[in-house]
């Protein structure tokens, strides 16, 4: 049986309101009453409810209008609605379902049927909430919001974005000399700091592979200045690592160094995988280039390397210095590469 829920009843008729309230309270639920659609909508926007029982024919704002408002409201879109009405034409019932109502109960409402339908709707809501919670835990907030807004659909779109790759230099060697618990603890602290720097600048971490990560700036959320945001995030990451190193350095323990590669351009962004298991990611030349730039930081002994397109979008005071064109493996033309210093 469904656990007690907080329900809102919207009905302009006092007898109907009181009777529904009574039936629901007898089932153990907490009930709030609204006299019309407008008041119901105000209440829904003010406090959380588990489900709405909605009448159709109401003055000020009728049930159809409430359903339309709910459908447009990101926060309220998933609220289960059971329409209760004595309206007799089938077209109205169909319209309610099309407008997003989960179920329809004809008035006078049979208490046994009410209990069954309510239980089913609340159980579905509980599963949906649980699923959302899982998505939030295993995806970033931006991806979860994007999924929420546009629904899950494999397939992508071409967008302009800035891609960042970062990893810890020589981490494998370091990890071999450390107890495994300490390695995971180090990675967790490190990732907490890196995530904070990246999301603080509007980026989205979309992959973690061992000690490396990939982040996207400008998708799925558009950013005013994806290049600048990515570079500032990278600088903050380097500063974080410097702070992070202070304690092990004093204790004579090994310190970590990271390399960051940033490239901007057209990418194909979207969900890849299967319907069962998918991830939001970006693919394309720009992504490969960011990965190559990150690898190149080791070769040239620089912390942050960016491509020419990223550099071109930066303010003149960014302090990016050219290290000349570089011919990367798999690229037909050489790429202008710039180095950015951590502390500006």
């Amino acid at each position: 049986m469904a656990s007690p829920a907080h329900l809102l009843v919207a009905d302009d008729n006092k007898v109907n309101r009181l009777l529904l309230q009574r039936s629901l309270q007898l089932q153990g639920h907490t009930v709030t009453l609204a006299e019309n659609g407008r008041i119901a909508l105000e209440m829904l926007r003010r406090e959380p409810f588990d489900l709405l029982l909605l009448d159709i024919a109401m003055p000020e704002m009728d049930g159809f209008q409430v359903l339309e408002h709910l459908a447009k409201d990101l926060r309220l879109r998933d609220l289960p609605v059971i329409v209760t009405s004595a309206v007799e034409d089938m077209a109205s019932v169909v319209r309610c379902i099309e407008c997003g109502a989960e179920d329809y109960l004809h008035k006078p409402v049979n208490p046994v049927l009410l209990k069954a339908r309510l239980g089913a709707s609340l159980e579905k809501k509980r599963l949906r909430d649980q699923q959302k919670e899982l998505v939030r835990r295993f995806a970033t907030r931006e991806v979860a919001d994007d999924l929420d807004a546009s629904g899950f659909k494999l397939g992508g779109q071409r967008v302009q974005a800035t891609v960042m790759f970062s990893d810890i230099r020589g981490f494998t060697t370091m990890a071999e000399a450390m107890p495994p618990e300490e390695t995971i603890e180090l990675l967790n602290t490190y990732y907490t700091l890196m995530f904070d720097a990246i999301s603080g600048h509007g980026g989205v971490v979309n992959q973690i592979i061992g000690d490396g990560l990939m982040a996207i700036f400008g998708a799925p959320l558009a950013l005013a200045d994806p290049c600048g945001s990515a570079v500032r995030a990278a600088q903050e990451m380097i500063e974080m690592v410097t702070l992070f190193n202070q304690e092990p350095d004093r204790a004579g323990k090994p310190v970590i160094q990271i390399g960051v590669g940033i490239a901007s351009g057209s990418v194909i962004a979207g969900y890849t995988g299967t319907d069962q298991r998918a991830t939001y990611t970006c693919v394309g030349d720009t992504v490969n280039l960011a990965a190559r730039l990150e690898a190149h930081t080791k070769t040239v002994g620089q912390a942050i390397l960016i491509c020419g397109s990223t550099q071109a979008a930066l303010d003149s005071g960014s302090g990016a210095t050219s290290i000349g064109p570089v011919q990367f493996k798999g690229k037909t033309e050489s790429i202008d590469v710039f180095s950015v210093q951590a502390a500006v």
Partner: protein, 116 residues
């Protein structure tokens, strides 16, 4: 038209069974407070030729009547809801007079049943 019962006893008993005898007595009280307003609404809607208001008033009265098993009253209200305003206002006035009478009967029966 088939003659409907003033109050269908089994519907009323079921309501008492599921919601509680005392609660139903209170609910009847609420209906008796609200219904005269609904009947007056119908008169105003008729006088101002407000079709939407007329339908909504008849709909509300139908819905409550059926809740208590007031089948005759419910059937008359339903007829007005589905038909809407009549082209001839005089016919609606006759129907509304009949509705008032049916309400008076239903109200008396409901009072007796809920205190019985």
């Amino acid at each position: 038209m088939k003659q409907e019962a003033v109050i269908d006893r089994s519907t009323f008993a079921e309501l008492q069974d599921s919601a509680g005898v005392e609660f139903v007595a209170e609910l009847v009280g609420t209906f008796l407070e609200e219904a005269p307003g609904m009947l007056a609404e119908l008169r105003v809607a008729r006088a101002t030729a407000d079709a939407e208001r007329f339908r909504r008033g008849a709909h509300s009265l139908k819905s409550n009547s059926l809740t208590f098993g007031a089948l005759a009253l419910g059937a008359m209200a339903r007829e007005l809801e589905l038909k809407g305003l009549d082209a001839d206002p005089a016919r609606d006035v006759v129907a509304l007079d009949a509705l008032d009478a049916a309400y008076a009967q239903a109200a008396a029966a409901l009072k007796e049943l809920s205190h019985g």
